[in-house]
């Protein structure tokens, strides 16, 4: 076609077919790339026919998309995709919506904010999770951000984020945050035994892999992510009423409800911060263990829960 930009565009189609033939990507992922290729080709053709309708920002958008597709394909081809936590995200996606096939790719991109691209049909999902180049998975915010991306496939969130109206998009993103932070919060609640044991140095040598508390916690969450979260009394009490209300009245959310989402978010982040604090501070944990009954009454919900877990473990 004579230009490097257009060659890069052609490369999307060629590579997607090659990777599919080699059995590296599933058909739904091949279709994701072919759909993107067709769309960009048609758009360029449109501007060739009507150049006066073309503008620089539109061409910049096209080049960015071509670059992004090529980057993902070359990472997949070179097997440089991120494998850490892939199983976790795979299960998370399967449980958020019902799919027979999930083709998940975690791709590092030179960009600070995680994002996702996906295509789904009745049975399959191609999900491309884009993570910053050097992610710290134990950073509480990043974990929340990463769980936020799979939340995008939830039908309510998807319909809002797909909206051209900025207000709807923002609300959809906030709902994804609420769902993501609820997932993470639940994980922390249920994996706290593991954290306490790790920090206090209690032996886990006798435990088989499948009963490892962290693993169990993860499976518990994933077995039925949304249902399970909402049946947890701690999470339910704080979030369910508000979240239910939001889902009932969407997509006609007003500013008030957007503020409500923000409030829930703030609270979720604060509580997660608490978990992180206890997770990493041995002194705090040992203090909790030695509190008197009167002192216990005065401590917060999370420290109380952690204390029960410590005592349960040491007993």
């Amino acid at each position: 076609m004579g230009s490097r930009a257009l060659n890069r565009l052609e490369n999307i189609k060629i590579k997607a077919e090659e990777l599919h033939r080699a059995g590296i990507i599933k058909d739904i992922t091949r279709r994701f790339f072919i759909y993107g290729y067709n769309s960009l080709s048609q758009e360029i053709e449109y501007y060739v026919r009507y150049p006066e309708l073309c503008e620089d920002w539109k061409l910049e958008g096209i080049i960015s998309q071509i670059g992004e597709y090529n980057h993902i394909l070359s990472v997949i081809e070179e097997r440089m995709d991120e494998r850490k936590h892939k199983e976790f995200f795979n299960e998370l996606l399967s449980k958020l919506e019902d799919f027979d096939t999930v083709d998940l790719w975690i791709i590092r991109i030179p960009y600070k904010i995680p994002r996702c691209r996906f295509l789904s049909d009745n049975s399959g999902l191609c999900f491309i999770l884009q993570v910053p180049e050097n992610p710290d998975y134990f950073d509480n915010n990043l974990l929340g951000l990463l769980a936020h991306e799979p939340a995008h496939i939830h039908h309510v969130i998807k319909s809002m984020v797909d909206s051209v109206k900025e207000k709807n998009r923002k609300t959809g993103e906030s709902l994804a945050d609420v769902l993501a932070f609820s997932i993470v919060e639940y994980m922390f609640t249920h994996s706290s035994i593991y954290l306490v044991r790790e920090v206090l140095g209690i032996s886990k040598a006798s435990e088989p892999k499948r009963s490892h508390p962290s693993w169990l916690a993860r499976v518990t969450v994933l077995r039925s992510v949304t249902d399970e979260i909402w049946s947890n009394p701690v999470v339910v009490r704080r979030n369910l009423a508000a979240f239910d209300k939001l889902l009932t009245i969407s997509p006609t959310l007003s500013t008030t409800e957007e503020l409500l989402v923000q409030d829930i978010l703030k609270e979720a982040r604060r509580w997660m911060g608490e978990w992180i604090k206890y997770r990493t501070d041995e002194n705090l944990l040992s203090k909790l263990e030695n509190l008197s009954d009167d002192e216990v009454k005065k401590i917060g919900e999370i420290p109380k829960k952690i204390r029960e877990l410590i005592i349960g473990c040491t007993n």
Binding site: M1, G2, S3, R4, A5, L6, R8, Y35, G36, N38, S39, L40, Q42, E43, I44, Y46, Y47, V48, R49, Y50, P51, E52, L53, C54, E55, D56, W57, K58, L59, E60, G61, I62, I63, S64, Q65, I66, G67, E68, N70, H71, S74, I109, Y111, R115, D162, S163, V164, K165, E166, N168, R169
Partner: protein, 331 residues
């Protein structure tokens, strides 16, 4: 130009629908300015409009309004009021803004898989591919410049040059400069400012504007004779400020009021001036507390940012609000 294409993803759709709304906006703008209706083009766009408006998730009432106005324009253009046209123009602009924002948010800014400096090269190559057989002749270039100046008054020569080159290929700075001079001589535009390193701002020739309502709240330029200082014709029982001296300009051609800060002294009367600033309707003055009984003086008002008297074809600055007068047009 007018067809809708199946199989586009939402981002490509947003960019192409933006282009089509751009076309519709231009047609509506022309109707507002000259009451000329390009029925054929309007008809072709009207077929796609429901889908585009639905894609933009326009409120039902607004979508119905746009649809009704477009149909009326095709059947009885004289029946369409300028208020309706202005409202429709505003709705189209809001939709365009949302589409652009959506398309930009959905793409990673200036992403290339390696070596970021290649990004601009790729964009240029694609642009050359698109424009390879497309040449704007001189008259089309001048038309494009007029379109830019009339839709966004306050462009200066460099901003016009940058803007045009973002859209087309190979229009030189000196060509833009020459076209501006020609357009000014043809009395299609006026320029205020320059030379010697100062921006030369370009505005529609106010004599060409039938209805100024489309420019309310925006930057606007005038030229003409300061005929009368008329502040004493206003009652100010509950003046909330700011405090202005008010002048009547061009009472015999296209009269307009000019407001300048009270403390800067009086303008000399019967001299030719050029001025630019923010255009507002008379109701704006009323809200500030300036009331006038004479209905003939309830005119649009230009809140002046810069005024220069014109002597031997040269401008001599009389008043300049340095902060506001430095217009930054969006490229």
């Amino acid at each position: 130009m007018y067809e809708l294409m199946p199989g586009l993803d939402k981002i490509s759709k947003a960019r192409i629908y933006h282009s089509q709304l751009n076309l519709l906006g231009e047609i509506v703008f022309e109707i507002i300015m000259q009451r000329k209706v390009k029925i054929g083009e309007l008809k072709k766009l009207a077929n796609n409009l429901p889908e585009i408006l639905s894609f933009c998730e326009l409120d039902r009432s607004e979508a119905e309004l746009v649809d009704a106005i477009v149909r009326e324009l095709m059947e009885n253009p004289a029946n369409v009021s300028s208020i309706d046209l202005n409202n429709m123009y505003e709705i189209i602009n809001v939709c365009k803004m949302e589409l652009k924002k959506y398309a930009r948010e959905q793409t990673i800014e200036r992403f290339v898989e390696s070596e970021k400096e290649r990004f601009s090269e790729y964009v240029d190559e694609l642009k050359r591919h698109i424009f390879k057989e497309f040449q704007l002749d001189k008259e089309r270039k001048k038309e494009e410049i007029i379109k830019l100046i009339y839709t966004s008054p306050g462009h200066y020569i460099k901003s016009l040059y940058v803007h045009l080159n973002k859209k087309y290929v190979g229009i030189s700075y000196s060509a833009v400069w020459n076209y501006i001079n020609e357009l000014e001589r043809e009395e299609k535009i006026i320029t205020i400012g320059g030379p010697q390193g100062r921006y030369r701002y370009c505005f529609p020739n106010p004599k060409m504007i039938e209805d100024r309502a489309i420019y309310y709240g925006k930057c606007f330029g005038i030229n003409g004779i300061v005929e009368e200082a008329i502040l004493d014709r206003f009652r100010t029982p509950e003046l909330r400020g700011p405090f202005y001296n008010i002048y009547l300009v061009n009472s015999n051609i296209k009269p307009i009021l000019l407001a300048l800060p009270y403390g800067i002294g009086m303008l000399q009367l019967d001299i030719p001036i050029k001025a630019y600033g923010e255009l507002e309707p008379y109701s704006y003055l009323e809200k500030l507390g300036y009331l006038v009984e004479d209905k003939g003086l309830r005119l649009d008002i230009l809140i002046g940012w810069k005024v220069a008297k014109v002597s031997d074809g040269k401008e001599v600055e009389i008043w300049l609000d340095e902060e506001k007068a430095a217009i930054k047009p969006e490229y």
